[in-house]
Amino acid sequence: MHSLNRRVFLGTAAAALSAPAILKAQSDAIKLGSLTPLTGVGGTYGPSMRDAISGVIAQVNEAGGVLGREITLVSEDTQTSPEAAVRAARKLIDVDGVSAIMGTWASSITTAVAPLAWESQTMLLCVSGADSITQLPHQGFICRTQPNSKLQIRVAGDFMVEEGATQMAWIGPQTPFAASSIEILEEIAAANGAGMESLIYEADKSTYRSEVDQILVNNPDFLMLGGYAADSTVLLRDIWQSGYEGKIIGPAYAVNQTVLDALPPEVTENVFTWEGAPAIDSGAYANVQAILGVEDVDPYSAQTYDHASLAILAMAAGGDVTGDTIRQNIRAVSQGEGQMVESAVDGLAGLEGGINYSGASGPCDFDEIGDITGTSFVFKQISGAAAAEFKRV
């Protein structure tokens, strides 16, 4: 079996692997990068996030491109791992020369990729919620369409109090937003004369019975879940088995349809969920529905639709295709007095008169550090393993 010489094998392999890169370097299109989790924990969301970006680019190309040039999408997989994501981002920046990287999902991944982006003047548009991200020294090269976790928890905490919570509890794994979630809920509880307990558990366990017993010691009447879909499935089952009769609220990405389908309907009955509300009555949302061919668009795909639209419009407004152009012009097309537009194609047509892009995930207005403002939230309640709208704030 040793007839295949080692040197020949390695040489051929290296040549075969580098050939497509040489071909790619010759095209003249504008390049935008998608860096979503196609495999790993985030793999449920990444593919449709990428498809939303790809749909926007296809529409713009069909309408004649931007600045007279075509746009190509270069897509890489984060594997939901910061180590793999950094290597993928290096390839997007150094080989493809993308002007923007869109769709980073987990907060640790966005933080790992961020320094590469600002050092190479590439715009980074993300859907991560950790408060620390926009506090990095990013010089304007980061904008996010996901409300930061403080805002999300504050909105949900107020909801719990309005719904009559007198003894609140938070239970979740260690995440970048665990500590601040607990802090904010304690503040809200103290201001309203309610009690508040919290418990951090280890993710990836097959049962949480002892954790559930522990958090129920003080008889809470409103529980907030702080984890992701996998651990929330186990946790909801164990809470139900413990005979807990109070109310439960969890983020919509944790108590999603997969979780509802996996559990018996009585386990999830009356559980509340909340999320940043996609602008479901908007033209932009209808456009994403058409692109993805689905009725319910998840919030992340709605956000990446907005990423792609904003990046394209900002390049058109600045008359150049660099990441720096996007950084300087993104607020000029996303907010202000201009005419409201809901897609990149409409925006390109109306650019001369001034535009204010309003997207599928909300109005898309950013403050000076790149945080989104003016997001509205939707609360839903589960009934018969389906989520029905309960309230909007």
């Binding site: 290296a14 150094d94 320094p115 620390s132 990095l136």
Partner: protein
């Protein structure tokens, strides 16, 4: 493109240091260390905290990282001296997870799952990204060359021969009068020190560490690198690490050749390619690309 190649070569250097460290522990002394990511994390965090929190120079941070990882390696191997094979594998895997969980939960020290951003790199900021990548690449390759030279010397020395004897038959080595327990602890500490050096290099190159980086997948990659390169062979460890990076990165460029695939299909295809190539390499060279050859005895 050049900048990407330099960065990829730097990552390959980090993988090579990890493979060289594992080669001392597993390849030469026969102790299975599945807690590799834990020592990598220890080095990365030690150097990150020394330079960010204490403001020490990078060189000193790296020395602290090597010392911390070597000390942890010595302690762990001292505690597990009587464990072999599968049992040692489980304990070391547990050690790696413990380190990751400490990093995620001791927020006062490690900043929790937010991680530590803004770790300084040599002359970072004064250089363009391309120059920085070139410098990092040069330094890493230098470190790999030095580590290769030292571990190769170790392998060829009577000490290396004693380690091989311990690996192949511990009782026989003990009967021959070799201080088996001492040598095992020493070998584990030396290997762990190299893993710590790799961690420090990674932290200063990428400027960010977080618990998510140190998941067991990395351990698997390094075991693959060493097995594909040739367990017990120093040059094989380096070659295997470069091969794994070539496969991991090279597979990116194959996907665009297949048109009309959705994102998830493309990502899955890439994982299939990575797996198949490694199986192929192991099929044609089961002993690794460079098999271990005991050094020739020196003529008296």
């Amino acid at each position: 493109m050049l900048s990407y190649l330099l960065a990829t070569l730097t990552f390959a250097g980090v993988y090579a240091l990890l493979a060289l460290g594992l080669n001392v522990i597993w390849g030469m002394a026969g102790m299975i260390n599945l807690g590799l990511a834990g020592f990598f994390a220890l080095g990365a965090y030690a150097s990150a905290l020394a330079t960010v929190a204490l403001g020490l120079p990078i060189a000193l941070g790296i020395v602290i990282a090597i010392a911390a990882a070597a000390l942890a390696g010595a302690l762990l191997s001292r505690l597990t001296l009587n464990l072999r094979g599968d049992y040692l594998a489980i304990v070391t895997l547990g050690f790696g997870e413990v380190i990751r969980l400490i990093a995620a939960n001791e927020i006062w020290l490690t900043n929790g799952s937010d991680g530590i951003p803004g770790i300084p790199g040599p002359f970072r900021g004064a250089l363009t990204p391309l120059q920085f990548n070139a410098l990092s690449c040069g330094l890493l390759l230098l470190a790999v060359a030095l580590a290769w030279f030292l571990t190769e010397r170790l392998r060829r020395s009577p000490y290396g021969r004693a380690l091989r004897a311990i690996r192949d038959d511990e009782t026989a080595a003990a009967v021959a009068g070799k201080p088996v327990r001492l040598y095992k602890v020493q070998a584990f500490a030396i290997g762990a020190g190299l893993l710590g050096l790799a961690g420090a290099a990674y932290a200063h190159f990428t400027s960010y560490v977080a618990p998510d980086i140190f998941r067991p997948l990395l351990t698997i990659y390094i075991f693959l690198a060493l097995t594909a390169g040739g367990t017990g062979n120093t040059s094989g460890a380096v070659l295997g690490a470069f091969l794994v990076i070539v496969i991991l990165e090279g597979s990116r460029f194959i996907e665009p050749m297949f048109h009309g695939m959705s994102g998830a299909q493309g990502a899955a295809l890439r994982e299939i390619i990575i797996g198949s190539v490694l199986i192929f390499v192991m099929r044609i060279r089961p002993e690794g690309l460079l098999a271990e050859r005991p050094p020739k005895p020196v003529e008296p």
